[in-house]
Symmetry: C2
Subunit: 495 residues, 2 copies
């Protein structure tokens, strides 16, 4: 090294840390205290208050201006940064607001959020006991609990970044179990495969089939009945037909809580078909899995214990926070690790001083993997299984109330009163002030621009646009149900 | 509805929200304030303080007892919950600690953490402008900035849940571009495919090939030189060989910053080979991408602008927080959406009142997708491109210092002094107090049990175990480099 270079280097790497916050290490804490204050005021207090707006609509071009998104060479003052944090919150949709019915997640659970803030601060990856001792053990415990609710006393599982990825994992595991050669030799070494799901399934099944190289054609679409539930007789028919065409059926993906109609497929009957034909039964219970917590309603998932795999997203009905997506497996043969493992020697050293079976990171196709168990664990510890059960029961009761109230009013038409020995979580309703499909988009535009409410609409089959009501936020009350109906009437009164 | 049922229902769904926090809505705020105080004390202040332990080792069985992980029916008091939060932090590894060198991420950036706390509180999904107006626009702006650093004035991209998934996306996009039929008809409709990467590549390439149905055999392993860089001549040889065997080459995955040796593949030469053979060039720059910020060192990635796709994880060298993983594309033909889109009508309605091109969620194979742009955006706004550049330059300088200091000491052997017209980010060093491969695990056990430091080791090729030093934490100083050497000497003095 030449002296000149050495000097350069000493100038550059002196003994002080970088002055990211003006060299003052207390500044980091001070900044975070300030930001947390803003978060509490704007996102938590106002963001969950019914008298505040659920969203502050801006046209994209105007919003770009307001946010000043550009990333520049020069940094900004702390004051400017705090103002930016405020703006980000101000113009974001408040998904914890009691009039946010737009998605299959809503509400703000303080315990879960506490878990998320700790997770973000600890900032670790869920691959080895060495780097995530608490979370390796905790993930296993949480998965064990979820498996117990499915009805399994043993098994395996992992948290995935989204229910779609969970569904893909299930498909990949099923084909690997049937054709272990696939991992090394690929699909060209296999006969043509076929998997089965109903026409009401989530779109991730087709996306997954394409991504996994099977192609969307490999997905055979099974009929659903008038309530959106898979027809087991048609499933069997489709299986026989696929075999006759030379394909090898390997998996059925049933749904517990479909995305639009909230239907629960008849799992016992489907399991019988799978058993007869030796097929892997996957249950996409991303939405409906949390109903297993309710003694009153869990019969909707009767037969789920016969599944081989279950995808269950506690970030939906339990409001654990995005993302909290468990893939649960009945398997006890280490299938996950055999199917996905690559034994990277820089991460999964075999000569460690502890039991390397605790290094669960090789079970997944990811490398770095976020900690998704803590938010659910803290929430469960605080509220107990009983508290969570009450929440689930309450969503059913609120949906039932809404349906009864809606029936009393003119101008509403119930598209589907799903009643499966109880009441469905979702009531789908049609704003039939006009039967034109343009009505829903107009009402949606009005509510968003006023910021009074958010609810999703869609067409379905031959049915024109209708609003899909999702009751999930644990802080909802009867008044919020009344508000929904009043507000739809008000927004549509001139149509 | 019978009167009895109605009564049940009224009992259940009264007009008050569930008493998750004893019916007191202020309790949510109070809880979060308490938890935040614990986070600041334990995870931020102590967690980044050199005189505190980097980890508090417990054997798994003991840790289970200490954490009392079981999830029960009964909820717990706030006091108990706060104690649990403290325990979770206490027994977790402090990845923000200045003596945490164990992974390719470390450090705690207060601005990025501020962005993460806001993200968690807003709890939205990155699929439509309707639900994530701020983040749809922000993601595009951040990706544009990263693309500009790659050298592209246009293009596409998306944040993925991990670099492994980014790499899979690249493989899927490359095969779809070449064989659009694949999406519908699957790999059986295609000729056998071949992709190419060096023996030093990340293990996600093989995992991805298996997951995507190509099989690990489709990955042809190209030689690396003595510094771990792909040999372009061997790449060309392998391509010709694959073709001769009847396979269709479609993608080369080069690496900018390999996982163990920190090597940068010669991208210009590789791009020339790809151009000659019409192959998609993907660059896995998960680790090395951030070097693009440095005017001094970005030449290590010369030629990256010729790539078709780049995977870059700002959660590594820039300490943005897990996960922040950009997949960048040169494509301007909407390839992402064509390849992955499924046009779900319940989410991506075409009759919305705004430009639905803003609904970017159909670009991905996921459905719900976390917001990963805000943490990087806040950090960049606060520190500016210049501040981030300084950080990157500083890691090079610190690594250079470490190497020079190590050379002065007996007992250390430099496994590889990577010098590519400058200094490498990573210096790999061998604790050669003994040349037995058992030494590294023993030293590791000692440092972890004392909690003094964490650094990873591995064997590599014919080389026995050595320690891999990663300099990434932006708050590191020369003293931390000295400490590393002193501590390895101390821990190994009796061996």
């Amino acid at each position: 090294m030449t002296p000149a270079l050495l000097t350069d280097f000493i100038l550059m790497a002196d003994s002080k840390p970088l002055p990211a916050l003006n060299g003052n290490s207390m500044a980091a804490e001070a900044l975070l205290q300030e930001v947390f204050g803003i978060v509490v005021d704007e996102a938590i207090r106002k963001g969950t208050c019914a008298s505040e707006k659920v969203c502050e609509w801006k046209e994209p071009e105007e919003l770009k201006q307001l946010l000043d998104l550009e990333l520049r060479s020069q940094g900004e003052s702390q004051e400017q940064i705090l103002e930016r944090c405020r703006a980000v919150i101000r113009y974001s949709v408040k998904t914890g607001h009691p009039r946010f019915f737009n998605q299959l997640f809503s509400g703000l659970d303080a315990h879960a959020l506490a878990g998320r803030i700790i997770t973000e601060t600890l900032n670790t990856s869920q691959y080895t006991y060495e780097i995530a001792p608490v979370f390796v053990l905790m993930e296993e415990e949480v998965l064990k609990k979820l498996r117990a609710l499915v009805g399994w006393s043993s098994g395996d599982g992992v948290f995935c970044p989204g229910g779609s990825i969970s569904n893909m994992y299930a498909i990949n595991l099923a084909r690997y179990q049937r054709f272990p050669d696939c991992k090394q030799r690929g699909l060209r070494a296999l006969p043509p495969l076929a998997l089965f799901t109903s026409k009401e399934c989530h779109y991730s099944i087709k996306k997954g089939a394409a991504f996994l190289g099977l192609g969307t054609d490999s997905v055979r679409v099974v009929k659903a009945d008038e309530r959106g539930r898979m027809v087991p007789e048609d499933l069997e028919q489709q299986i026989i037909m696929a075999e006759a065409e030379g394909a090898v059926p390997f998996l059925v993906s049933a749904t517990a809580g479909t995305t639009v109609l909230g239907a629960f497929d008849p799992l016992e009957a489907i399991a019988n078909v799978c058993q007869r034909h030796g097929l892997w039964l996957h249950v996409d219970a991303a939405w409906g899995g949390s109903v297993l917590l309710s003694q009153t309603h869990r019969h909707l998932l009767d037969g789920i214990q016969r599944a081989d795999s279950v995808a269950w997203n506690p970030h939906k009905l339990l409001a654990a926070g995005l993302q909290c997506c468990a893939l649960l497996l009945r398997d006890t043969s280490n299938l996950l690790k055999r199917c996905h493992g690559a034994q990277a020697s820089y991460l999964f050293q075999q000569d460690k001083f502890y039991d390397v079976a605790l290094d669960t990171g090789d079970k997944v196709v990811q490398c770095g993997r976020r900690v998704d168990c803590l938010k659910l664990w803290v929430m469960w510890k605080a509220q107990g299984g009983q508290g969570l059960e009450q929440r689930v029961d309450r969503t059913f009761a609120l949906a039932r109330y809404l349906v009864e109230e809606m029936k009393k009013r003119e101008g509403f038409e119930l598209v589907l009163e799903v009643r499966v020995a109880g009441w469905e979580i979702k009531a789908s309703l049609l704003e039939s002030v006009s039967t034109l499909p343009q009505v829903a988009p107009v009402l949606k535009e009005r509510m968003v621009k006023e910021g009074s409410m958010m609810i999703g609409y869609q067409p379905h089959g031959t049915q024109g646009n209708f609003f899909r009501m999702v009751v999930a936020n644990p802080s909802l009350t009867l008044a919020d149900m009344d508000f929904l109906l009043d507000e739809l009437e008000r927004l549509g009164q001139d149509l």
